[in-house]
């Protein structure tokens, strides 16, 4: 396999966008192409991560539409759907296309337009990811799943609600330093802990908002990367693994085995370990997930992730900053965009282009994008290649 470089990236401001789904995909794509200095180049392939365009905005075959809008015809184009991990799956597909030699220059975009639909409709559509007869029919929603996992953690590992609030406070603070983040207001421990209960013990502030947004990256072979940039970021490894669909049937419902396996694969491919990583983006659709993922990916001992939060290890100026972007909690979670936006943030971090939220001199970065409720995880490890 050939080495693959990310040579440029861009995204839209997450939140409530004026434009429709195609408008925001176009905006993010052009920003990434301009950032890469590849606007005048011929692209071989385009991958578009998106979960629910057909259901939410009544539009299908959006990759064909994107290449038409931005004149990348006749590049190969396809939509990639893998639930909330659609974005990272699209990046993975782009990586494989370049690594295999099938393509030299690839655009990967991800986007979702969610705010035009009612919250009930969005929550229900997302709930259709669950098992139709063993989960969905009972009225389970993704917040309910997160609450069931949170309660297990509280019982077993001594996690308290305060720890969830600490993650929220950290991510809000990071988000306020990110002009692309949806939520731009501070959050206090007391404020978080008195927010509305949505799924006991999960309050509103322990869950991500509903957002519109798009993000994009440009990939090319490492040998050609230097023609475009003197700061190429190498995709050092990826991992992708699944688990049984229902939470209750997993070997241990408190363990995200797909995160574990995908992380191990990615570390093996990159010939790196958790200690080599300088900055992380996790899939904190619910704050409990930042803690559990950081453990199952191998950064902290099982059951000790919340202690790292308590000690400030995961803060922007801590030893291992997690979610400098504000995470899904503050940046927002336009589902198809999320996995791509994580990569965008980490590319900016590695290139020292992250402004006020810049982590000190990171060289290696780790992204965890999570589909279903933890039964389909895509990991990427990035590193500076200069």
């Amino acid at each position: 396999m050939r080495d693959v470089a990310i040579i440029g990236c861009g995204m839209t401001k997450f939140g409530r966008s004026q434009g429709d789904l195609m408008d925001i995909l176009v905006e993010a794509s052009l920003r990434a192409m301009d950032h890469a200095g590849a606007s005048d180049s011929d692209f071989d392939s385009v991958y578009v991560g998106n979960m629910m365009a057909g259901e939410l905005v009544h539009q299908t075959a959006i990759a064909s539409s994107l290449v038409d809008r931005i004149n990348l015809v006749p590049a190969a184009a396809e939509r990639v759907e893998n639930g909330p991990a659609s974005g990272a799956s699209a990046v993975k597909n782009g990586f494989l296309a370049v690594a295999s030699g099938a393509a030299d220059l690839v655009l990967v975009a991800g986007g979702e337009k969610m705010t035009t639909a009612d919250t009930d409709v969005v929550t229900d559509l997302v709930s259709t990811m669950t098992h139709p007869t063993a989960e969905y029919v009972h009225g389970v929603t993704l917040p309910a799943m997160a609450a069931l996992l949170t309660r297990l953690y509280m019982e077993r590992y001594g996690l308290t609600e305060r720890h969830l609030a600490m993650v929220a406070v950290k991510n809000h603070a990071n988000g306020m330093k990110n002009p692309y983040a949806h939520i731009q207001r501070p959050c206090t421990i007391e404020g978080a802990m008195s927010s509305a209960m949505i799924a006991d013990p999960l309050r509103l502030y322990y869950a991500c908002p509903i957002s519109d947004g798009a993000a994009a990256v440009v990939l090319c072979s490492m040998e050609k990367a230097r023609k475009f940039t003197d700061k190429p970021v190498r995709i050092a490894g990826f991992g992708h693994a699944t688990d049984v669909q229902t939470l209750q049937e997993r070997e241990d419902p408190a363990v995200l085995k797909s995160v574990k396996l995908a992380s191990q694969q990615a570390f093996k491919m990159a010939k790196l370990g958790p200690k080599d990583i300088d900055v992380i983006e996790t899939h904190d659709a619910f704050e409990i997930l930042e803690i559990v993922q950081s453990e199952d990916a191998g950064f902290f001992e099982k059951g000790k992730g919340h202690l790292a939060v308590e000690r400030g290890v995961t803060a922007l100026d801590g030893e291992l900053p997690i979610n400098p972007s504000g995470g899904l909690k503050a940046k927002g979670h336009p589902v198809g965009a999320t996995g791509v936006a994580q990569i965008v943030e980490l590319v900016w971090q590695l290139r020292s282009e992250a402004g006020e939220r810049q982590v000190k001199d990171p060289k290696k970065a780790f992204a965890c994008n999570f589909g279903g409720f933890g039964n389909n995880t895509v990991i990427h490890i990035l590193e500076r290649a200069w």
Partner: protein, 115 residues
């Protein structure tokens, strides 16, 4: 008519599963016997859902995961408002919710009768 909570026992290796898979999670066998999972199960986690989905009448919707003696677990609605981890619960057939305006039936779990 009494309804029994049914699981699926692999004819090749004997592993019991719920819900049904088309191939056994252990040995990939494709044939299963239907067996009753039990009249009692233990609550291992729960939530009270206040942001309820369409077709549920009143918040909170109390949901839990229970474990049968053989180790099989199921997600379910609980009839009690005072769930406690470790409590014993029994399956009872009833209306779960409406989906698309139609009533859907299945097992809920209620506190087990003592003795």
């Amino acid at each position: 008519m009494e309804q029994k909570f049914i699981g699926f026992k692999c004819k090749s290796c004997g592993r019991v599963m719920y819900p049904k898979h088309d191939r056994c999670l252990s040995c990939r066998g494709r044939e299963f016997d239907e067996i009753e999972l039990g009249k009692e199960a233990t609550l291992i986690t729960y939530t009270k859902l206040y942001a309820i989905p369409e077709g549920i009448e009143m918040p909170p919707l109390v949901l839990g995961i229970v474990e049968f003696p053989g180790g099989c677990r199921t997600l379910c609605q609980l009839t009690t408002d005072e769930p406690k981890i470790g409590m014993k619960l029994s399956p009872v057939w009833g209306k779960l919710r409406k989906i698309g305006g139609k009533e859907v039936y299945g097992f809920k779990f209620e506190p087990a009768k003592k003795g």
